[in-house]
């Protein structure tokens, strides 16, 4: 087996070390992934755009700069992908929507800028649910994504393309976004590690907004260590995002090897109640016991308002999206209908043709919730309940260091199974949404497979800005287990 054939089995650190010790070049690493994308993407549909030429040009440049010693950082020479809602300068940025199918972004998102400056190589843009609205990657205007573990199943969503990309090793790392579970649920369905940091930890500048008060970007990769390395590059204050937080960024890799002995893990009883698939529950229990065996203390906690999280979310998120998506009006960029007969026709047809059904559904829900006479009953009430949900977590964190539980109630479901039942689809995010509403950091890491052979992910929730501790805990688990290194046989 030649070197190039095994590059995709390496971690970010492995790739970094390889290109810096001259074992292989950045170009070889880039080509290895580009070749895999060419080979496997038709089956998975995980990428909307592959930036082969610009990736190779970047690889040449970065090889040079590494050779001259200008680039030494942990991301230097490492290929990566981006969910297709991060604006990338000169690259088509579609949000998986017909509305933006021809939109070439004139600028880089904050995180794209950071990864570029750190010497990463952009391989392409990942498929997703249209405008990040969906939990199965079936709402994409560019076709659904298939789960590498079973191509008749969905990969989850909205960062489904990214999760499939990592599961099949079509990139060593990608950035996703999470509004109500869009990193954690697909990570769980695809046996990868993904973290949604605390709201405000990473700048949202250049991330096409779905629900501004909830959207947060985060890395998706095989391991917690890969996520930590990425977070080191992209976290921190950005003056272009007023909601980004001015707190020092720790070295997320520094404490990965700390012991978890004495760690107090809270299990919310509401997350282990009716609705949780028995098989998923069994895998979760087994992992909890592993933590216990390593010296963690397990406690039951309660999040009494968590059953209200899904309804609250489906008021707040659509309300914000109904306003955020108003800029897609056919006037300055994006889809414009043919021969509009007047201004209203231009607006109505451009938006009717440009947006898919789920996006339209949420715009309508949100518009209704904000309307005069309904605002107090819906939006205002939802914000009040949101505070209660946050207070539940604050109370729980008085007794425990972290909270664990399932990321999703089930393993990956069949393509088409929930497509026509929005409520069933919305309930997919039962366990992830409360965390998003509270603005807390949440992550998923692989903990094994259910009897149906599909992966199960553990959700780990930390207190505000406790990402380093969370990554440490997941990393420790990944030292005892090898779930996270497993790849479906056909993509090995």
């Amino acid at each position: 087996m030649s070197q190039a054939d095994s590059i995709h089995t390496l971690s970010l650190k492995g790739i970094h070390d390889g290109v810096h010790t001259g074992k292989f070049s950045v170009m070889e690493a880039t080509d290895a992934y580009l070749d895999r994308i060419e080979r496997f993407n038709p089956e998975l549909n995980a990428y909307i755009t592959v930036t082969r030429e610009s990736a190779q040009a970047q690889a040449v440049d970065i090889d040079n700069r590494i050779r001259k010693g200008e680039l030494t950082g942990a991301m230097a020479g490492v290929p990566y992908a981006l969910k297709d809602l991060f604006c990338s300068e000169g690259v088509r940025t579609t949000c998986a929507s017909n509305m933006l199918s021809n939109f070439i972004s004139p600028y880089d998102a904050h995180v794209a800028e950071k990864l570029k400056a750190a010497g990463g190589v952009l391989l392409g843009k990942n498929n997703m649910d249209e405008f990040a609205m969906g939990s199965s990657n079936e709402t994409s205007a560019f076709g659904n994504v298939r789960n590498p573990w079973d191509t008749t199943k969905v990969p989850g969503g909205s960062s489904g393309g990214g999760a499939a990309t990592i599961a099949a090793r079509l990139a060593p790392m990608t950035l996703g976004t999470d509004t109500g579970g869009s990193i954690r649920q697909p990570a769980s369905f695809c046996n990868i590690t993904g973290i949604k940091p605390t709201y405000g930890r990473i700048s949202r500048y250049g991330m096409i907004a779905f629900a501004s008060s909830l959207d947060q970007c985060g890395p998706m990769a095989p391991s917690a260590e890969d996520c930590a390395i990425t977070l080191n590059v992209i976290a921190g204050l950005d003056s272009r995002d007023s909601t980004s937080v001015d707190l020092p960024v720790p070295d997320y890799t520094a404490n990965l090897n700390d012991s978890i002995e004495g760690l107090r893990i809270g299990l919310p009883k509401e997350f282990f109640a009716e609705g949780l698939d028995v098989q998923v529950g069994a895998v979760i229990d087994r992992a909890i016991k592993q933590f216990q065996a390593k010296g963690a203390i397990i406690k039951e906690v309660t999040l009494p308002n968590s059953h209200l999280a899904v309804p609250v979310y489906y008021v707040v998120a659509p309300a914000e999206c109904s306003s955020n998506l108003s800029r897609f009006d056919g006037v300055r960029f994006g889809h414009r209908c043919e021969n509009p007969k007047d201004l209203l026709d231009l607006y109505e047809r451009s938006r009717w043709e440009g947006f898919g059904d789920e996006v339209k559904r949420r715009i309508m829900i949100g518009t209704y919730a904000l309307s005069a006479g309904y605002y107090d009953a819906y939006y205002l009430k939802a914000q009040q309940v949101r505070r209660l949900i946050k207070q539940d977590f604050e109370a729980a964190f008085k007794d425990v260091d972290v909270i664990m539980g399932p990321s999703c109630p089930t393993t990956a479901f069949g393509i088409g199974a929930k497509k026509d039942d929005p409520i069933a689809m919305y309930l997919e995010d039962l366990y992830t949404i409360p965390v998003s509403l509270a603005g807390l950091p949440g992550m998923t890491f692989p903990i094994g497979f259910a009897t149906d052979g599909l992966p199960v992910g553990m959700q780990l929730v930390g207190n505000y800005f406790e990402e380093a501790r969370m990554l440490n805990i997941a990393h420790q688990y990944q030292q005892w287990t090898d779930w996270h290194t497993q790849v479906p046989a056909q993509f090995a």
Binding site: S212, R240, T243, A319, D329, Y347, L370
Partner: protein
């Protein structure tokens, strides 16, 4: 039967910041279309607003000057509506918690009374762009240079009872905005715009249904537009109709208002707090820091001028209409040591010449020091007040300093009694008839002799000396 008019004004004052309220683009007026519109102003996917702190400071400044409450926490909200020159599909404004609330301003009525006008609130918001309907053959061009320009919308209580009060309020607020450096108040460029809410009622009755008149961008238009609107409403009611709540646009060319949209067509703006912006937190220390930089306010300055310079209320209020005029006056008054003389000149010749030349005092060609030099020549009897006006005109035209012009044109007053006596002797000799009439009791003819003597001396005779000698000679 009698009708009472009720007026409230909403004034949009553009704030004097260099960059926009949520982006770094320049706010300078008159650039080529879309050259001052960056990614944020264009509402590109993924961009975010960042609040310009200077705009907050200017809002506090105005709030303090109208004795208002400055909110310790105010919220930006999105006002959602579709229009091509509104690039995001919403305007960022303030709705439930404005930065400034509960202020007031006193206006001077024509009869000399003072009236207090309540100011409900003042909130920060961004301006829209401009739709250009000409030059595009049936299509519309969009210029987003103005999009995102910071505005302070200042909303009054419905406290005004006629168009003249509305104009007085608007003028006073305009002066205040400029005084404080909160905005340049340039009405031609749209930096100070007014919408008027107008209704009529029987005195003592409930408020009538109001119409909002938009686009009132001059003091002249606002008075006319309100008066027209009042007549229109009275006509409707007196002929048995009902006023409908609606928005009307004033057309200055046709001098009429016409309906834009009725209440039924009004947008539901679906206001909600903008999740991209944090609440604006203002501490008492922030407020004190702004207060420390406040200039003396017009009303306080007027009082001081009346006391310190012994000026009439009328003179003092004219002199304090703008900070620049007040500063100019004070420099002249202190320079020449005679405040009344300085006030007469600044309110008289100076303001008249500025008005004739459609010029602001900032651009005046005669500096306060130059005017002081001229006034000193009046005080030391070198020239008369009348001659001084000619000298002033020459100074305005750049012909040199007061002394140089007096010298060059030989305008120095004649105080030499023998020279004046000679002129008077000649006039008495030439006009024996008039002399006889005067001496027989026709006192009024004294003016005739003064005029003749002045004319003969080309206006240079010292008027006091001339009067004395003339009186002596005629009576002697």
């Amino acid at each position: 039967m009698e009708w009472e008019t009720v007026i409230g004004l909403e004034i949009h004052a553009q704030l004097a910041t260099n960059s926009k309220i949520f982006s770094g683009s320049s706010t300078a007026y008159g650039a080529e279309p879309n050259t001052q519109a960056n990614l944020v102003d264009l509402g590109m996917p993924g961009v975010l607003p960042v609040l310009n702190k200077k705009a907050v400071e200017l809002a506090i400044r105005l709030g303090l000057a109208i004795d208002a409450d400055i909110a310790p926490r105010s919220i930006f909200a999105r006002k959602n509506y579709f229009y091509p020159d509104s690039p995001k599909g919403y305007q960022i404004s303030q709705y439930e918690l404005p930065i400034v609330a509960n202020g007031h301003m006193d206006i001077q009525l024509e009869n000399g009374d003072t009236k207090r006008i309540g100011i409900t609130r003042a909130h920060l918001e961004e301006d829209a762009g401009k739709s250009l309907h000409e030059d595009f053959q049936g299509q519309t061009g969009i210029d987003l240079n103005r999009a995102g320009t910071p505005l302070l919308e200042i909303v009054s209580e419905p406290d005004m009872r006629n168009a003249k009060e509305a104009v007085a309020y608007m003028k006073k607020l305009h002066a205040l905005v400029r005084y404080l450096g909160v905005g340049d108040g340039n009405m031609q460029e749209g930096s100070f715009r007014c919408d008027a809410n107008v209704s009529v009622r029987r005195p003592g009755a409930e408020f009538g249904t109001r119409a909002e008149i938009k686009n009132l961008n001059s003091f002249k238009f606002i008075e006319r537009a309100i008066n027209h609107e009042v007549e229109r409403q009275i006509d409707i009611i007196e002929s048995g109709g009902k006023v409908v709540q609606e928005t009307r646009l004033y057309d200055p060319d046709k001098d009429e208002t016409r309906s834009m949209r009725s209440k039924e067509d009004a947008n539901d703006y679906r206001y909600f707090p903008d999740p991209d912006l944090l609440p604006v937190e203002i501490t008492p220390a922030d407020i004190e820091a702004v207060r420390a930089t406040l200039p003396e306010l017009p009303d306080a300055k007027k009082q001081r001028f009346m006391v310190e310079y012994a000026l009439s209320a009328y003179d003092a209020s004219l002199l304090t209409l703008s900070r620049e005029v007040a500063d100019y006056f004070e420099a002249v008054a202190q320079g020449c040591g005679d405040a009344k003389l300085a006030a007469n000149w600044v309110n008289g010749e100076v303001s008249k010449t500025l008005a004739d030349n459609e010029m602001e005092i900032a651009a005046i060609p005669v500096s306060s020091a130059a005017l002081v030099e001229l006034l000193k020549r009046i005080q030391d009897n070198t020239v008369s007040n009348k001659i001084a006006r000619d000298v002033f005109a020459a100074m305005w035209n750049g012909e040199g300093s007061a002394d140089a012009i007096i010298d060059k044109k030989g305008l120095k007053q004649i105080t030499d009694t023998s020279a004046i006596e000679a002129v008077i002797d000649e006039i008495i000799a030439k006009n024996p008839g008039q002399v006889a009439e005067y001496r027989s009791g026709k006192d009024k003819l004294f003016g005739f002799f003064v005029g003749q003597a002045m004319k003969a001396s080309k206006g240079k005779a010292n008027p006091n000396t001339l009067n004395d000698i003339l009186k002596q000679k005629l009576e002697g």
